[in-house]
């Protein structure tokens, strides 16, 4: 089994965001980054598949040069090597363009399975995986909670999440693209040994400009403005010490809401 797992670096999940002066992007000067949540689960699934079926796990990232740090973490968790498409000017800000860049790199690679996260922690468009599949001409399944590779049948079964607590098992032929949902397993920690080994593992760097993509001919999503959701709160805010709050709330629930 050779698995490519796409890994994106995004602002840490506890970031308190600020906006840039022109509101076109986030403005925090010093945001720490980490592997986007779903992508980390995708990596975990890839590593489990390698344990079950042998083979190789390759990290594929498009991002800033600093993304190497997150990739090293992935290598420390157990991935074998990485490919980093260097997007220095943030030109890959639309899903189609990201998918096209990934496709270009994957064209001359061998693989059985490509995993991505269902949705990223920054834009959260949830498009890269299925778009990549379409560009590569591969079948796909999204919002995957469980994977069973059927090596003898040359296929993969994926448990897809659906509305209202329903799920479906679908089967598609390999090679295929799956997008992995967060929270489906426990993510392993990197061991000290893993961290040591990761330093020596290869990360091949490719300049985006060198891929020969005509980005300007591709669909683009232009973010015109970012803003914090309007506080439409009509809530009565209850203040005081915990005991005062408790008294006021109980009073309101009894007299106003009449639920007690």
């Amino acid at each position: 089994m050779k698995v490519f797992t796409c890994l994106k670096e995004t602002p840490s999940r506890d970031t308190r965001y600020e906006l840039s002066p022109d509101s076109s992007w986030i403005g925090n000067a010093e945001v720490t980054h980490e592997i986007s949540e779903c992508d980390e689960y995708a990596l975990e699934e890839a590593l489990k598949l390698k344990e079950q079926h042998q083979g190789e796990v390759v990290l594929l990232t498009a991002g800033r040069a600093e993304s190497e740090k997150s990739m090293r973490k992935g290598l420390a968790m157990g991935a074998d090597r990485g490919v980093l498409i260097l997007d220095r000017e943030r030109e890959l800000s639309s899903p189609y363009r990201v998918a096209a860049a990934l496709e270009k790199v994957l064209q001359d690679q061998e693989y059985d399975l490509i995993l991505t996260g269902t949705q990223s922690d920054d834009y959260g468009y949830a498009q890269t995986g299925p778009m990549l599949a379409q560009l590569l001409g591969l079948p796909h399944a999204t919002i995957v909670m469980q994977i069973q590779v059927q090596e003898d049948r040359g296929s993969v079964r994926a448990l897809r999440e659906m509305e209202s607590g329903w799920f479906e098992w679908v089967e598609i032929p390999l090679p295929a693209v799956l997008t992995i949902q967060a929270g489906i397993s426990q993510i392993r920690y990197a061991t000290l040994r893993g961290i040591m080994q990761a330093r020596r593992k290869e990360i091949r760097k490719i300049e985006l400009g060198g891929l020969g993509l005509d980005l300007s001919s591709m669909p683009h999503l232009e973010i015109e403005r970012l803003y914090f959701p309007e506080q439409t709160s009509k809530a009565e805010m209850i203040e005081g010490t915990p005991d005062e709050i408790a008294s006021t709330l109980v009073d309101r629930l009894r007299r106003e809401a009449k639920v007690l």
Partner: protein, 355 residues
Amino acid sequence: MKSPRRWWTGSGERQKSCNPPDCGGEAMMGEIYVLLDHSKGRVDTLSRETLALAQQLGRAHGLGVKALLLCGPSRSAAENVAGLQVDEVLVASHQRLEQYDPDAHCHALTRILAQDRPLAFLMGHSYQNIDLAPKLAASLKCGLVTDCIGCRIDGESMVFVRQMFRNRINADVRVRSPHPWIATLQSGAGAGNDLLEGSSPVVERTVDLSGLAHRRTVVETVGAVKEKVDLAKADMIVAAGRGIKRKENLRLLEELAEVLGAELGASRAAVDSEWLERDRQIGSSGQSVAPRLYIACGISGAIQHVVGMRNSANVVAINTDPDAPIFNLAHYGIVGDLMEIVPALTRKLREEKGR
């Protein structure tokens, strides 16, 4: 492209003044197409909401609106859509469209949309369309904005509103691509718009899906976890989110629930952390509830959670972050540490009971 007014700029730069010379900021022209999803012969609520939004945009801006339905040969759903106020209902039926199959659905839609090139193609943000829309957008090489909470027409272009950065920040997004601009709309995006009934011609569209390989097979549909607890009927719910931080802290919520006679509920983050069973999850991939009292403890209020609990009669939110979106729908808000507030509340209620 059919109309000279349809333009796009492929450039990634932010440009406000990109009116092409021949349209000079005039109003848009064209049609909005809406996909009607259906099950058991009935068009689903989300599609109806999406269509209502399109009708409203169409009326306000003089745009045509057409509904598009893909179905199997029995066409049972097609019988129910003639009563909509749209210019046309386009129906494509084929054996391969009986059940959702990304290849067949994408192929059929690509054919129809590439031929008609409507201005925009709107779909509900359902699990099915999350799977389908990006594939379709790549197939058409058109731009797609997913999970929109709003959509408006602004001069010669459309603005799609969606949340980013884990729902903390809203973004106005414009699509720079050939038409149609594709969007999936979240439930509530067209809030308040009533679907207009009327009569509309049903137009048959033939799609050739012969020779299309069969790649995805649905092996089994697994029912929701046997719901030991039916939260839908709960009178009161105390719900735990990631903010409870550790499983041991659940005890605090259990005590509150006990004195109230309430059920325990959970956000997905709390369930994923294995603090509570999956059958207590509330939200788009869990249960939908409508108790008289809902106390959200350490829950941020992500849309996927909110859709499952927003019909609660009274919502109390306890959260350390004053900007948490849960306060937007709460009736009573408490900015504070649940570790202190919840026990105080339990004490107070016990005290009153003892009296």
